[in-house]
């Protein structure tokens, strides 16, 4: 994925995961990150995922959800729970997670609309 996810019409939820890689197990980490990105997109209520990781090891992954119930269902997903445990043990030196209700959203340019959701232009 390259272009930013087109914001759906608020209100919706976002889960913002900020992490610093430990530097260990690059191959295992990359496989997990790819699998969890794809798995999130398959979940009911998932409206998209944006991810970026810089050369300094700091990464931000944001997933967008229709409502709080879909956020909680993803938290409780068994494969996602296992990935989080491995992340805390092995892949992340530190992390922060923010669960938030989106009140306003804007977009410009050619945002990604892979999920079939409508974009909002400012």
């Amino acid at each position: 994925m390259t272009a930013p996810t087109a914001p759906p019409a608020p209100p919706y939820y976002l889960v913002n995961f900020v992490s610093l890689r430990s530097g260990e197990d690059e191959e295992g980490y990359a496989a997990m990150a790819h699998a969890m990105h794809a798995r999130a997109l398959e979940q009911p209520g998932c409206l998209g995922v944006d991810s970026a990781r810089g050369a300094d090891g700091l990464g931000i992954s944001v997933s967008y959800w229709a409502d709080e119930a879909s956020v909680l269902a993803w938290r409780d997903d068994a494969e996602h729970t296992l990935a989080r445990e491995l992340g805390r043990e092995r892949w992340y030196a530190s992390y922060a997670l923010h669960i938030a209700k989106v009140e306003r959203a804007y977009a410009g340019g050619d945002v990604s609309n892979a999920s079939g959701k409508s974009a909002r232009e400012k």
Copy 2:
């Protein structure tokens, strides 16, 4: 900045800016990004900033704010407004902006506490 910002105690606001670089004017973009990061941190109510941009050109910048008033004041800041205009014209192929109220937050490992705000451990 390397480690994730330590989440303050909710509720607080976050502004999530996802952008795809146009590839134009790398030097001007880098100078603006550095200046805006520093300027955001100086604003009243700003609780921190996390930023990452991957090799594919997709970047995510998240700023954290004490309340909606401080979000709106930053939106109306003159230098920030100018930077946004240049961004739309020159630096970004596309972007999406999400303004959200954080309901829950967790952290683990050695998160950054440069702002003097307290961390929340899960």
